[in-house]
Symmetry: C2
Subunit: 252 residues, 2 copies
């Protein structure tokens, strides 16, 4: 049985706030060994002072973009960009968040969400004695599918993959290519209790204690596919245009 619930009573977080203490104050049922604490990156960013002045969200996205992956202009002139941010994450907004922040400001992602998650796990373990893991989440769109789901962008003391390679299926054959990204599945699951409009940025997942481990486990950075293995490193239009120019030059 997996139990997932959001904490009520996390206050508005401001730069310098102690997020470990805010979670401890809000947690009703004491944390237990094997609990996974799942925190929306928004409050981690706020605690870390990642709010910047920006009248224009688009400008902020441009500054956070390390690589333009794809863009498209709608008939009404609206430009949709898919970009890679400094964490290697491909998304529409480069992690720039203008919702739930004061007018004229935007929120950037934590500089190192894996370090943030490990610091939270360290703090929560020290304060409670419970062997807990921490996942930091962000809301991302997907290729080929409408809508968004929450994903893991930081992980501390929790396995991000459940490695089944080397195990066998019910027929005794090896499960060769199966590598469930449990950290993303946990992030998605907690979005079902956190809500987007409500201020419930922290959820607890109880029932997968086997996924909690040492603080030096690989973080969520290891989920990001290496560019050499990425078959969708560019949008189709962008790749076509690059190819067209190269083909024209080669022939001309």
């Amino acid at each position: 049985m997996l139990q997932i619930w959001a904490l009520d009573g996390i206050p508005e977080i401001t730069p310098g706030d102690d997020l470990v203490q805010a979670i401890l104050d809000a947690v009703g049922d004491p944390l237990r060994d094997g609990d996974i604490v799942v925190v929306t990156s928004k409050v981690v960013s706020k605690a870390e002072g990642r709010i910047i002045r920006a009248d224009d969200r688009e400008d902020a996205i441009t500054r956070e973009t390390v690589r333009l992956v794809a863009s498209r202009t709608s008939p009404t002139g609206h430009v949709t960009r898919i970009v890679e941010n400094p964490l290697g994450i491909v998304s529409a907004a480069a992690g720039v968040d203008a919702s739930n922040t004061p007018e004229g400001t935007v929120l950037l992602l934590p500089v190192d969400p894996d370090a943030s998650a490990r610091a939270l796990a360290t703090g929560l373990r020290a304060a409670t004695g419970a062997h807990v893991g921490v996942i930091v989440t962000d809301t991302l769109g997907r290729a080929w599918r409408e809508g968004q789901t929450d994903h893991a962008i930081g992980a501390g003391g929790v396995h991000v993959f459940e490695d089944l390679r080397g195990t066998t299926d019910a027929e005794g054959r090896p499960l060769v290519v199966t590598l469930p990204c449990v950290a993303d599945e946990i992030a998605a699951a907690t979005d079902l209790v956190k809500g987007k409009a409500a201020r419930r940025p922290v959820a607890i997942v109880r029932g997968r204690a086997d996924l909690v481990g040492d603080l030096d486990l690989p973080g969520a950075r290891s989920i990001v596919r290496d560019p050499a293995r990425d078959m969708f490193r560019q949008g189709a239009d962008e790749a076509y245009a690059e190819g067209f120019a190269a083909g024209r030059d080669a022939a001309g």
Copy 2:
């Protein structure tokens, strides 16, 4: 509080088996109004007799492919293909499953997983009187991220999106682009209790009764992005090659 658990004791399913009855036999705690029953497509396919003889899984994938999206050959000669299947779903295996099936056979996806999900929801509602929803899942890889997560490929009597458009954030501003794909989040969440190697293909999600609705709600087909809105309808290499050829021809 969200509670998620897998049913023990679902027997090996064979063509023609009554999946509604198998679920009812395995469900311990009786189903309640608002429960969401999440079923791995594998057992739906087996009940529907979608097992075919195929000595070669790659041949079966080719036959299930309506469009090659991207392919890449490794230095060792292994070809990775990303293809679109008849349901519009983009994945590595076109839904062809060779795990947990007898040697020399493969399992195809249900012909119409939304219809399968609606039939299961209809049967479970009739048998129990409980207003339940059904989601049928498949395991899919993702662009840009390693590993796989479970996704919704069929839905009956359950909202696949939680439409927050028109609502406001905590600062009173409209949440314009937020469209959480709750069906995919539910699918992902249940993978955490089903396991891949074990025969636990059915899970119950209790605690989001607000997502359960009429049987004529849009199915999981509505999650598939329309090609006109898909910026990654081809792999980067394929689009580049097409562009190169067109550019060469235009110049020559």
